[in-house]
Homo-oligomer: 270 residues x 2
């Protein structure tokens, strides 16, 4: 058993969909979350900038006594997980590998797809991870840069012509490829699962990267006998911008109220 | 005459629409531009964060020998122009006052509108500036947070159902108010002038904040006999993210190629 907390970070709010899954499958664990809302979004930035921000996010989380960190940001996971893992002496779990393993196991026609931010797709990380598992898989990758701002404006529900049009246009090449399994490679995208599912059709399986990384972390902690003792874990949330603004949007992603549990951090000091 | 350069900064690319106007009306001036692309957008952030970023942007520009700075960012102009002006011994021109003066002079029915980012509208700066000029003006303000990401994805042309739907929904309350003059209070919005004009109708005058601040700066320099001597001014561009990425998008806003004129800056050191 290991009572230390699990650290989770993301560029903003999206990582809270992973926290929601973590709390659902490991309710006894303490969680410390950092959302870098003063510099969100990461998805259109260069690799150098993403790495610099990710190192600061990690250093801030390491100011707590942690047993593992979940990088609940597809952009960081795609671009520099290897560097963070090499620089830290606790497990660093990203969102790419767990989702890729799951998608490769689920596909029946061997045609899989990935949608994510421009920086995630540009990194080629998902394609490399699929190739390492199975060279015969046909992988189609697509950047969907408007999905994050549309979700953050609450335009994520079926019946909204804006998100439906954008989703249909982005996903048309994916449908033409006939993928039967689609990785939602950004932690904002679970909020679009219904819209994306309507475009792709019921025969396509959607893989939620946050859920897969939560499951991978549980398996790892179990293997190491490092799960928390039974009970109800606490959660603390930190943001690099105003705590009040964070509380307002957090409920959309987390499905619970975090008022009074949010602190503000000057991330540039880390 | 004053041969020193004019500094211009913005959170990203939008300020280049102001540079375009500056170069059109004052071709002899040297210009140093900084776009904070590693932290763009500012428009949804808190005032404290915006001020911290704006001070760094200003300190970087002051590392050049300048005669004036144009804050070509509606969000910074709305939230902390007074602080920057107090902290600097050269003129700091924002986008709020010049546009408000122009709109107040243009309106015939005394009903004016402002659209801008959430942080600009939330600051109340446009409304206060209108009140100072003329208390009898009826001012309607609206935040349009999706306009910036849509423009940056190139979705700014008539015939695109996504931008047209978003524009119609955002601007419906503005049409109901019957404004005859509308301030485009963000330097990204001139790229939407045609879409916005189609929604508002030909009887509504659109005021471009970048153009108005360029005109205000020329008037100020003329008054002080501080214009550059005749000739063709040079332009240098700096970005806080990768120079190559900047070059790609800059042409959309500036209407000219800037390859080889772009440098990268670590803005957190200022």
């Amino acid at each position: 058993m290991d009572q230390r907390a699990i650290g989770v970070f993301d560029s903003g709010f999206g990582g809270l969909t992973a926290v929601r899954r973590l709390r659902a499958i490991m309710p006894a664990e303490d969680i410390v979350y950092f959302g870098d809302t003063s510099r969100v979004p990461y998805g259109n930035r260069s690799r150098d900038t993403i790495l610099r921000y990710a190192r600061q996010d990690t250093r801030f989380l390491r100011s707590f006594d942690l047993k593992a960190i979940v990088v609940a940001c597809g952009t960081v996971s795609s671009n520099c997980l290897d560097v963070l893992a090499a620089e830290n002496d606790i497990p660093i779990i990203g969102v790419v590998e767990p989702a890729v393993r799951s998608a490769a196991a689920l596909t029946r026609n061997r045609r899989v797809g990935v949608i994510a931010t421009r920086a995630s797709i540009g990194s080629g990380a998902y394609e490399r991870a699929f190739r390492r598992l199975d060279e015969a898989l046909e992988v189609t990758s697509l950047a969907c840069p408007l999905f994050v701002p549309l979700v953050e404006e609450g335009r994520c529900r079926p019946g909204d012509i804006v998100i439906e049009t954008v989703a249909e246009q982005y996903l048309a090449p994916m449908r033409e490829k006939g993928v039967d399994t689609l990785v939602l490679g950004c932690t904002h995208y679970p909020l679009l699962a219904e819209v994306i599912g309507n475009v792709m059709g019921p025969e396509v399986t959607l893989v939620d990267v946050g859920a897969e990384s939560a499951a991978a972390l549980r398996a790892l902690l179990q293997e190491r006998d490092a799960l928390a003792p039974e009970g109800t874990g606490a959660a603390e949330y930190y943001t690099s911008d105003r705590a009040a603004d964070f509380q307002r949007l957090a409920s959309l992603f987390l499905g619970e109220d975090v008022t009074g549990q949010v602190g503000q951090v000057d991330i540039t000091k880390y």
